[in-house]
């Protein structure tokens, strides 16, 4: 290498040398990439792929198509303005008979019932009462007699709307929107419009927890950053021990403390402060207390590192220039902690948004956040489309906030890990 550099002045060898160096660098880069590749492939399989699959389910809509193929083909040219023609009725009758034979009616009934409440009954009653293929030209009359719903336009627009293969139905539903009989986007009926208030609730709980963490975390971070290292290292254990303690242990601890016969209520009763046990858990109060406890270290650690970086000389300079302590704090110290406040608050807020375990265990029915409904629709009711659509909204919010966070801490060393 040294030889090559020395002869580099010679014009005839300069080009090959440059090329050789470039080639060596390229090999090095390829080797580096080869080292990263296994993890990338692994994450593609265990993380990115599954999440992409979930996002796909939010727009995937092939259930009705699979059960009622002929009906949808017959409806393809239908303008939706009037009832469809006899052909569509005949196609539906033959689809229903075929689906009854193969036992797939329930698949379409479930999907159509999401879009129009009561559709399950329409479809199953028709399947039950339709004895055989109607005579040519009588399908409309036969089906209308079995269930008058077939004489209504909404029934048919619902089928056409659920024809897939892609749908905006679940994403709209996640935003309390739906399509009316003419295909225009309108507000969902009040009994189904629960998701905006769910987002609002998730937002309010996360914001309350973030504000609580900031109020409680700021003095602690200030104390830790100001004390000499020997003492602050010791006190840091009070922050790190809960940080490392299992989430389940901490949640369990709060239930034991706050329940009606728990430690806190017992003490309050014993001290005569209250006459009967207070309701401290399975409500909003319990959720906020337990979540603040879990997330507080995530506020304290970034605040601490931003405060640690502030030289005490600034405050001394402010004082020597005649600033009263409060002014010096507000004008000199506080502005320098803003990146730490921003990073800590965003981190706590992002983590709080996706919380599931703590609200599920210490919250009441009115305190469940978006994650709870995603889990509920996945495992209990198996409305996977809606679960995925809600997941997509939560993921979008998280990714956007994480990008802001990334910009904020760029160059700053992020301390600590994250758990939920």
């Amino acid at each position: 290498m040294t030889d090559a550099l020395l002869t580099g002045a010679d014009a005839s060898t300069e080009v090959p040398l440059k090329r050789r160096l470039r080639r060596a660098e390229r090999t090095r880069q390829l080797k580096a990439l080869a080292l990263v590749a296994p993890l990338l492939v692994f994450l593609l399989f265990t993380f990115a792929g599954p999440i992409a699959g979930m996002l796909w389910r939010a727009v995937d809509d092939r259930e009705v198509r699979q059960v009622l193929p002929n009906t949808l083909a017959a409806l393809a040219a239908w303008d939706g303005k009037d009832l469809p023609d006899e052909n569509a009725y005949a196609a539906l009758a033959s689809d229903i008979l075929a689906a009854r034979a193969s036992g797939t009616i329930a698949i379409a009934a479930k999907r159509l019932n999401y879009a129009l409440n009561g559709f399950r009954t329409i479809l199953t009653s028709t399947a039950r009462n339709l004895k055989a293929e109607p005579e040519r030209g009588t399908a409309r009359e036969t089906l209308g007699r079995i269930n008058p719903a077939w004489r209504e336009r909404t029934t048919w627009t619902t089928i056409k709307g659920a024809g897939g293969p892609l749908t905006s139905f679940y994403l709209l539903a996640a935003l309390d929107l739906t399509r009316n009989v003419d295909g225009a986007i309108v507000a969902a009926p009040p009994d189904q419009a629960i998701y905006r208030s769910l987002f609002a609730r998730t937002f309010i709980i996360s914001l309350s927890v973030t504000v609580l963490c900031l109020i409680l975390g700021f003095p602690v971070a200030y104390l830790l950053a100001t004390l000499p290292p020997a003492r602050s290292n010791l006190l840091m254990i009070f922050v790190l021990l809960p940080f490392w303690t299992s989430l389940l242990v901490r949640t369990c601890a709060w239930i034991v403390l706050l329940q009606s016969k728990g430690v806190v209520n017992d003490s309050l009763l014993w001290l005569g402060i209250v006459d009967e046990p207070l309701r401290l858990i399975y409500n909003r109060f319990g959720v906020c207390v337990a979540m603040t406890h879990v997330l507080l270290p995530f506020m304290i650690l970034p605040l601490y590192s931003s405060m640690k970086a502030i030289s005490p000389a600034y405050m001394r300079a402010a004082a020597s220039l005649g600033a009263p302590p409060l002014t010096a704090f507000l004008r000199i110290y506080l502005p320098q902690t803003l990146p730490g406040i921003g990073a800590g608050s965003l981190l706590v807020f992002i983590l709080a948004l996706g919380y599931y375990i703590t609200p599920a265990l210490v919250g009441g029915a009115a305190d469940q956040m978006i994650s709870y409904f995603i889990a509920l629709y996945t495992t209990e009711t198996a409305n996977w489309g809606l679960a995925s659509a809600l997941g997509a909204v939560l993921l979008l919010a998280t990714v956007l906030l994480a990008l802001v966070y990334g910009k904020l801490v760029q160059g700053q060393q992020v301390t600590g890990g994250m758990k939920n």
Binding site: L247, V249, R250, C252, L361, T379, L394, M418, K419, N420
Partner: protein, 276 residues
Amino acid sequence: MSDSPSLRTPSQRIAWTATIIVSTLVFVFLIAPILAIMPLSFSSGSYLTYPLPGLSFRWYDDFISSPRWMNSLKNSMIIGVASTALSMVLGTTAALGLAQWKSRFKPLVLAFVLSPVVVPGVITAVGLYFFFAPIGLTGSYLGLILAHTALATPFVVITVGATLQSFDTNLARAAASLGASPLQAFRRVILPLILPGLASGALFAFATSFDEVVIVLFMAGPEQRTLPREMFSGIRENISPTITAAAVILTTVSVILLATLEGLRRRNERLKGSGA
């Protein structure tokens, strides 16, 4: 208050005292709940209240003699150790590669590698549930190990990456110039120097898997339930003192992990200090 910041005016003294009082209350808030449930696990009664009627190990006996709890502890260990090992292999190689790789796509790749930490647990869990069910990986140890590895690897990449950043590459060159093969240089020079970083990464990875419950909730069959998962259903159904015994066991593991990590950090600082 010899170690307080220069306090010249009474108002400053009041502010400092207020800081100390508030901080003390916050420290109590942080630690008290964890400490409060510990004595309850040694209670001889079956109610989770103070004062304790007497002391006993009956709830620990209950834990040890219960196949359900012991199986969950075993599962936590199996899944924790396996996903730590796998995430160490994947994370360390990736960190070594990222340290040398120069590209404008590097921040993007790094963001992707670290994203499992930020994405809400429920989203990862639901995605994996849909993805792993058709290929038979739900209700299996392998599925859980793979999922936990994905969550734990970012911590390995971060800790090992930080260690590599402070690693003096001249040492590797020196080893090469003295005739060491790349493998020898790695084993005899690089590895001993980055070992504390690797150990921290492993501890983080193990803690991540050991504490994880959302993915287990979605993907584990009755055979693969881990300790946090068993606690989750225990808390849901009825909190018996056996859960507090389980909590004490979990906390003990956390304390051991934290103490080891703190020891590694101190050792590292000492080495750095003596090197300067």
